[in-house]
């Protein structure tokens, strides 16, 4: 079966559109997912056993169910509640919600790793908990959030391919369109796979540079080797 590169060139614009959609979805889901994760993390830090248990349950549910099912639940569930949204919004939302559990854990771990004294000294001079978070805790954990976040980005780029099943026009969907038109699966999926691979490689490279810039001079509590290795190897997030 001959490999026809011309097909790829011909469909490059379509695939490009798909890629563009993928990137926009991932960025949006990253922001929304992090925001949601922040709320969940802060809830988990409230006193008492109920908040922590509730958040643990939230995490267990989201991580025990395949993303495609979460996606479908959101996709079919929203009309139930009378909300009709375009597919790509639903997809982005589902991606954000699904990963919010991971973001919550990342944020929570970063906050908990900070010495308690930092929070106490902020309160001792009269800061409110919110002020302490904003001025003292937040800036310090930002550094340690970078490596896991770039990991999550890679994961979300790959997860976004599932959105093709609710007809969101991202890269995988366009690849399937191309395959439907050309009946040339090799060219299609090599191209699509190659583009994903390229994007992941670029994101990975950027991540390493970002980590270096953010600098681990003073506040380094991170195992550098382990994380550098995990960037370059497109690692799965922990369960």
């Amino acid at each position: 079966m001959a490999f026809d590169p011309h097909l790829i060139v011909e469909y490059a614009p379509l695939l490009g559109e798909g890629l563009w959609m993928t990137l926009r979805i991932v960025v949006a889901a990253f922001i929304v997912g992090y925001a949601l994760g922040l709320i969940v993390a802060l809830v988990s830090l409230l006193p008492g056993r109920l908040p922590r248990a509730g958040v643990a349950l939230y995490g267990t549910i989201l991580r025990g169910v395949p993303f495609i099912i979460v996606l479908f639940c959101v996709y079919y569930g929203l009309p139930f509640a009378g909300i009709r949204l375009p597919a790509f919004v639903v997809g982005t939302l589902a991606l954000a919600i699904f990963n919010s559990a991971y973001y919550a854990e990342i944020i929570r771990a970063a906050i908990v790793a900070l010495p308690r004294g930092q929070f106490e000294s902020a309160r001792a001079v009269g800061m409110s908990p919110a002020q302490a978070m904003w001025h003292i805790i937040g800036p310090q954990i930002l550094r340690s959030l970078v490596p896991p976040s770039t990991n999550m980005t890679l994961t979300m780029i790959k997860e976004s391919s599932v959105l093709s099943s609710i007809t969101v026009g991202e890269l995988t969907y366009q690849g399937l369109v191309m395959q439907g038109n050309t009946y040339a699966p090799i060219e299609c999926f090599v191209a699509v796979g190659g583009i994903y691979w390229g994007v992941c490689a670029v994101v990975s490279w950027l991540s390493v540079r970002l980590e270096r810039r953010v600098g681990l001079a003073q506040a380094a509590q991170i195992n550098r080797n382990r994380l550098a290795a995990s960037f370059l190897s497109f690692e799965r997030p922990r369960s």
Binding site: A122, A124, V125, G126, S128, Q131, H135, A219
Partner: protein, 268 residues
């Protein structure tokens, strides 16, 4: 003393897992006093200090700052907890210097001292910096204002922690084990620093397990044991004439092992 105490603790009790860390403590602090709060490890000194700034919520008892109730108040027959906002507003009046110092590593020395002033006391940045500069001059930190804490020596960091608390204009400064985080040679420096602060009129409570050190700095000594204050009085009175047997034993024991010659008030 005819004036009212500026800080008053009455019936303060705090338990952890059934064990009383602070047991029905009464303490009145008067303006300008330097109180050394001493006792064996685990006797509750640090917990008492933390209760005084409501970092630990006492199970029982009341605290008043300049006559105002702090943390908890009694209205008629009912005991009411103050709102978080009220407590936060009163906290700066009690300046706590942590044993671990807890400086903020992501901020410069100047910012460490300025940030709380602008955020909590709502001073203008200009005012806050001016105040900070004044404190740096007194404490010898002027050259380090733009440095980050990790570049400073232990002694310098401690002075930053002190400046940070002083910048809030507290009525009393609480020191939790100021000598423990430092090399022994530097203890003398801390000593003279605290003396300097005392002579400028700062009211201080210094918690330490180094009796000799406490004795050199303080004019009043309080001894704690198992959460209770067993001695409390002017320095010479407590040293010469302890009122309890346990207090006498503790002081005698440490008078022998201290690294300070009390009469000469300098390291041996």
């Amino acid at each position: 003393m005819t004036e009212a105490p500026i800080l008053s603790v009455s019936g303060l009790t705090k338990s952890f897992r059934g064990r009383r860390a602070v047991d029905d403590v009464y303490l009145d602090v008067y303006k300008g006093e330097v109180i050394a709060l001493i006792g064996p490890s685990g006797c509750g000194k640090s917990t008492l200090l933390r209760c005084m700034t409501w970092l630990e919520q006492p199970d029982d008892g009341f605290i008043t700052i300049e006559g105002q109730p702090f943390g908890r108040e009694r209205r008629g027959n009912v005991i009411v907890h103050q709102s978080r906002r009220t407590v936060d507003a009163l906290r700066p009046k009690v300046g706590l210097v942590f044993q671990q110092l807890n400086l903020w590593p992501h901020l410069t020395v100047l910012e460490n001292v300025v940030r709380a002033q602008t955020v909590v006391l709502r001073r203008s940045r200009h005012e806050a910096i001016a105040r900070a500069d004044g404190l740096f001059a007194t404490l010898g930190l002027s050259a380090k204002a733009d440095a980050f804490p990790y570049t400073l020596s232990g002694g310098q960091r401690q002075r930053v922690a002190i400046a940070r608390a002083l910048a809030m204009d507290p009525i009393v400064m609480l020191f939790d084990e100021p000598t423990s985080a430092l090399d022994p040679e530097l203890v003398g420096d801390v000593l003279s620093l605290l003396r300097q602060l005392a002579s400028s009129g700062v009211t201080m409570i210094v918690v330490t397990h180094e009796v000799g050190f406490a004795i050199s700095v303080a004019d009043r000594i309080a001894v704690m044991d198992h959460g209770k204050i067993i001695e409390d009085g002017p320095k010479t009175q407590v040293l010469d004439n302890p009122s309890s047997e346990r207090g006498a034993r503790y002081l005698a024991h440490f008078a022998r092992t201290t690294s300070y010659d009390i009469a000469r008030e300098e390291p041996v």
